[in-house]
Symmetry: none
Subunit: 245 residues, 2 copies
Amino acid sequence: MTDRQPAFVLVRPQMGENIGAAARAMWNFGLDRMRMVDPRDGWPNPRAVALASGAGRLLDGAGVFHTTADALADCHYVFATTARPRGMTKPVFTPEAAMAKAREMTAEGRKVAVMFGPERAGLENADIIQANAIISVPVNPDFPSLNLAQCVLLTAYEWRRADVPADGERMEMGGTEPATGLEVEKLAAHYEERLDQAGFFFPETKAEGMKANLRNLWSRMPLTRADVQMFHGMLRQMVRWKERG
Amino acid sequence: MTDRQPAFVLVRPQMGENIGAAARAMWNFGLDRMRMVDPRDGWPNPRAVALASGAGRLLDGAGVFHTTADALADCHYVFATTARPRGMTKPVFTPEAAMAKAREMTAEGRKVAVMFGPERAGLENADIIQANAIISVPVNPDFPSLNLAQCVLLTAYEWRRADVPADGERMEMGGTEPATGLEVEKLAAHYEERLDQAGFFFPETKAEGMKANLRNLWSRMPLTRADVQMFHGMLRQMVRWKERG
């Protein structure tokens, strides 16, 4: 794991379960620097450990601080996540833009933190004032009720997305590969020949149009080699069946 | 709320709590079309209602189906979310690319669904075969353990992020329209039945795998209504040919 990642700071978290769930959400996307400010039920918290299953290492390594200022003391740039506007003059980022900026800053060796507020009320203005910028998740304005672990999850997800320029779409080929034009051509010819024998292209006046439609159908399908073999095989079997009478 | 949004289909969900949390996650990002396939503890489920607080309306309006095929019957394009590769030949999308595509398709009036598997094991291959494409969240390979509501949350988040007037690419439909899930299902069943009679699924030990491959092939093809009619017609004609002896 690289050292160049932001710390996620849970400010006065209430339920141990949510601390554990936040740890899992971070580790789902490769983040393992957690800090806490004054957790309500003290520390360590067995409920947090139980819920963190698989990400318990983050809790073992978490820094626990008395005040927000202590938790942020070594940080160069701090984001605060908020659900509602606070009427403060601060830059507001989407999670995506924030994590892209965090990538840039950490790459330059700067320490970045992201603060998450307590479950019920979110961060207090006194916390937010200590941040350089705000992250606001673009939720449904009629139902803006993200919980702590969900907010951590979306932010961590954007951190990872900002790193891995994932192929938007790729084909899982399952051990086969796309059919070539020649293979599709032979398939089309095979069907045309047998269907002709079977009397499919009827009436005569429509035969040409039907053949063109069928050719177009084959060429439009994203056929693999295995698909082409399957289609050949089906047709051959129907012919064998006919010939058995 | 616009009618142009994907349905999220929870396949055999286990815990009512997770159904409720999934409903909240959807509504956080403005989605309110939920469907369920065979929920383990029956329906309605008071635990789901308790956890959905604020998004209970989604549960009231949710369609409950016996089989995956029933749930997808009216859909033109189906995504399946999976955590691990399944060795099938199918396009694989990031959540971002998938929801951008879903925006395009729903804008054209096509019905789109996204399937989510049960908590423990995820979707079965038999479910995935019925999808046109896969959504894979780019998680930490050392800890790929997203839960149901988290997977719903990230997908719904990307749906909302993709809320831009998209028109980069569209399909010229040439007077026909995309086949529905039910139409493709019937086509698959027609071929399976006749090929069975014809002795195609041989040897016995391989029959199940061959049938799965064939189902997967149909669901992967971008079939129009006219294509489906063409495939039915070809098969019927081969049978008539056989019967003429």
